[in-house]
Amino acid sequence: MPGVSSASGGSSASGGGALVPISPESQGAAVYPLNHGLKSPISRLSISWSRGNSLRVSFFAAPSSVEDDAGGTVVEVKLGGGDGEISDAHWRRIAYGSVSPFALLQSRKNAISSLSKMSTNSSPYDADWWDYIMEYSKDINALLSSQKPASVPVIDDPKSVIVKGEEPTNLKAAWELLEMFYAEKPSHLCLPERLVDWLADFDSLFSGTHPTVHSKLVDFQKELVNLQVVEDNPKYWEVMSSALAVGWLDIVVKMLRLHGSYQLDQLSNRETENGLVEAVAVLISKMPRMRLDQEAGKLGECFKAKPDFVKAREKWRAQINKLDSSAFWFQCAHLQTREGLRSMLQIMLGNANSLCSATCHWIELYISHLLYIRPFTVGLESMYSLAQKIIQLKPMASAHRLMGLIIGILGENTEVVLAECLKGFGPWMVVHAIELLTAGSDHAEMLLLEERPNLGGINIEELHRLVYAQVLSSHPLTWQIAPIYLISCMKHGMVLLQILLSKQPVQHNQLLLKSIEICRLYELHSITANIMKIAGVHHWKHGRKGSGVFWLQQARDEYRLNRIAQQLFDSVGKTISDESFKQWEGLIQLLGSDSKTAGGLEFLHKYRDFKKSLQHVFDGKTTDAARQAVESLISLMKNPSTPQRFYLPLLYDSLKLLNWKDRPLLNVSQTNLLLTKLQDLSLARLRPDFIESELPPQALNSVRLALATNLGRAILEE
């Protein structure tokens, strides 16, 4: 049942497939009660997506007469806690790690396809291609291992039968199956042996739902410590037969050596018995196997070529037959040993009944058939027909997700394989498995890359990439790798990427800059500008005027800059004459001298210059400084970006210049300009939206008088 996410992070609703749009089985609606803690009845309910796969449910209470009662409450409901086997953090680690291999393979694919377009006669799938696929598969496989390396005991305990390796996961097991069948094309001849290895690694995964040889071994291991005479225990022989049937030769030989007849004090009177045990152990360790390489320390003799293998196998079987019919058995006094060893010989000879009773589920039986009855099975078709026969021999009540996958693979049914991947392992698996499925099979490629009108014109590959990208986008940490998958989608990827980027929050610079960086990588300049505008307005609204202006400038948004300029001028008019001018200094520097990106704000720059030169005049009183101040005044008044409401304050501030003692500083045309502006101002004052400046009431008159006086003096001088 879903938990409230604030309480704990790891509750699950419907298991692994919860993120997937296709429901595996329609089990009818499940009802989960939510505790909202409201006393009064609920009048309204609002449900929306929160971060990740959390639902935000808002309850609004009906207006009640009780005063203290809260008006509503918001509950976050976490859906689908994921796999259970793999934690959320591990899933994220897998998602991060698979980005590079995926991107590398895509770029190699693109390179190969552009190469094959240029030269028509070369096949796109050359030797390099298989190396690339294998490299990709190995990289992904490495991610699926658990992070902690398995601790290897320094002292070999003779009684520890099973070596505990790293904890196997279904995901890794599934990936290795795919790798075996789709990426390792050339080694199809050795597939049976690869399956034997696979089962040795992952048999324990079936223990949860089915009896397995592995679980038998684990149980026996526990008993073993307390057993004095192992060979008297029927389980000892049973477990060994089972392990032999699935080809775990090392374990069997190790267990045989625990036989009581090896003990020094008993060796003399159990000589024949010991000889038989040792003979079987030697035969087991000499079993011919058809495989490319053998791990050091593993038993069995390897053969790479089929004729050698056939010859060795015939010889080996002849030796078993000879031992089976030898007279020594009658001299063996220990009944259990005699029976146990002979049944092991039957397994090695491929007695179907022995194999069937020694194994627990159909995959184990299948493996035993491949080992002892039909070691020459080649080709998926014959492997599939064998599998079907075996399933009838050992029908299962419930199917494991790996079993469904194996049947799909053997049946060469791409749809089934995809469906099993999706159902059992989620969208990550499908997206990355498709690369392997399409690697060598034209049929799968056709099936997956064919555009489908019922999917809106996209192909299955793109559909799954889009689904996976959506999953990534829903988490605040993984959204930034979604673009890698989106751009590999030809049809809808770009549009979805634009939507994804536009939806990212802009409050914090780090996130904002991340979005902008992704835009830069994919050359989405219009999105960049939009994001910057949103950020600018956000900062502006929150009183961070400098940041707001910066982002709007970066976006080259003159319209908004002009709008906010009007607001800024309001505060300028009030504060700029104060000491707080230092505050403005920084903003003016930020605006720079480039008027294009400053919008209406370039006025601030000029105003600052004017104020500065005016300051010089008051300090030094030199005529040169005064002339400079007049220049800035005139350029300010000429500039169309100077707001009208600043005309009067500007002129009032310059009264000293207008009434300059030595000689008039403004010539006739300059004075006329100022007078015209003053006239404009008087007209503008009649408009209702005019904002009166905070100046003494006689300011206008004194400016008028000064200008008139100056005009007179200037005319006289000219």
């Binding site: 996410s5 604030s6 992070g9 971060r51 990740g52 934690s87 959320d88 953090a89 591990h90 994220r92 680690r93 991060y96 980005v99 590079s100 992070q147 390396p149 988490h475 605040p476 940490l477 930034q480 914090h508 610079n509 780090q510 800059l513 991340k514 960086e517 830069r520 900062h539 929150h542 009183g543 961070r544 005027k545 400098g546 940041s547 910066f550 400038q553 970066q554 000491e579 707080s580 230092k582 505050q583 403005w584 200094e585 920084g586 903003l587 520097q589 930020l590 720079g592 001298s593 480039d594």
Partner: protein
């Protein structure tokens, strides 16, 4: 662009964490054997931030380093900036948060690294919005904090009161936002902000910055934000800054408005090696001397520096030389710290929820 490859490759270990890492800092060691680091985590699943003291075992039985968490402290909100002071008998951490508070932490490394919040400033009006950067003065008695709200605050924590007092040095009322800060001397510090602007402050001359560096030197190119500043104790007149578009530059107070561009956008004249095109998140002087002896470097030359960037580059830049790339990750490197006692070791926080420990040889 070919980068100089390191002559002897350094050893890199990436240690996956299950939380996002906002910042990472070495702590000055208390004994020769143990090495500690402070990590600011953010758990997105539970929406909970934490500062953890971890013990770094660089080489347990020849395998990769292990990080053992020692203790943890929960701040009120996510950490925006984390700094340490080195020249103190006990390591001191200053942590700034997105909710506008500052916390002074003093982990007790001898007794299991317990973290206690020594002091906190979180009053309304200290900063409005997030504190964007904080810096501890060497000696650890004062720290300065800046924000995009334009406030510059000085927090002193002499004595043992748990609620600190702070002094507002300047309030730009949001007209200017600051994004980086670094002490230069006991009375001077530098701040950085939008438009590659830098400001120099002197407490002895209050009322505003005593000197400003105009960031408009990259004409025609888009401007950017300064994310990090460093000032070398022996070169107090030079302010090193890193920011947007892979820009790393130095501002020499003696040559007021002429930046020394070390990497990035540049002035458009000499082709300057472009190491990275995205955000440079952190810059630090690299005290790990290579073959060239440091004594020969004249005072006009910039000392070697290390940077980390959004596009996953960790590199050492020396003026007039090819940059040396130490790491090229597929994800962003958010922060790094050079071990002051053992400068061959660098700890980095990677965007993909892991910590990298790099040992240069």
């Amino acid at each position: 662009m070919a980068f100089a490859a390191p002559e002897t490759p350094s050893r890199v270990h990436r240690i996956p964490q299950s939380k996002y890492i906002d910042a990472v800092r070495w702590l000055s060691p208390v004994s020769a054997l143990d090495r500690f680091a402070a990590v600011a985590y953010y758990d997105t699943d539970t929406n909970s931030p934490s500062i953890e003291i971890i013990c770094v075992d660089p080489n347990p039985q020849g395998s990769s380093p292990t990080l053992t968490p020692q203790s943890s402290w929960t701040p009120p909100s996510r950490i925006s900036s984390l700094k340490t002071a080195h020249s103190t008998h006990q390591p001191i951490l200053a942590a700034a948060t997105f909710s506008g508070s500052i916390h002074i932490l003093a982990p007790d490394l001898i007794n299991g690294g317990t973290v206690e919040s020594e002091a906190t400033v979180s009053e309304l009006g200290f900063h409005s919005g997030p504190v964007s950067a904080v810096d501890l003065r060497e000696g650890g008695t004062e720290c300065v904090s800046v924000g995009e709200d334009g406030r510059v605050n000085l927090v002193s924590f002499v004595g043992d009161s748990s609620n600190l007092n702070y002094r507002r040095i300047f309030d730009a009322n949001g007209l200017v936002g600051y994004t980086a800060v670094k002490w230069a001397s006991p009375s001077e510090f530098a701040t950085g902000g939008y438009g590659f602007g830098l400001q120099w402050w002197d407490q002895r001359r209050p009322g505003g910055p005593v000197s400003q560096f105009k960031g408009n030197w990259c004409q025609g190119k888009t401007s950017g934000i300064v994310h990090s500043i460093d000032i070398h104790p022996s070169r107090k007149h030079t302010c090193l800054a890193g920011g947007s578009s892979g820009t790393v530059f130095a501002w020499d107070l003696r040559a007021q408005q002429q930046p020394i561009v070390l990497s990035g956008a540049g002035t458009g004249e000499a082709p300057i090696s472009l190491l990275s095109e995205s955000e440079v998140w952190e810059v630090q002087y690299d005290c790990y001397t290579r073959s060239s002896n440091i004594g020969n470097i004249t005072s006009t030359r910039i000392l070697p520096i290390m940077i980390c960037s959004e596009d996953g580059i960790l590199a050492v830049i020396e003026q007039g030389e090819e940059p040396l790339e130490l790491l090229a990750e597929p994800c962003a490197i958010n922060s790094f710290d050079i071990d002051q006692q053992n400068p061959s070791d660098v700890i980095c926080s990677l965007e993909w929820e892991s910590i990298a420990i790099l040992t240069r040889s």
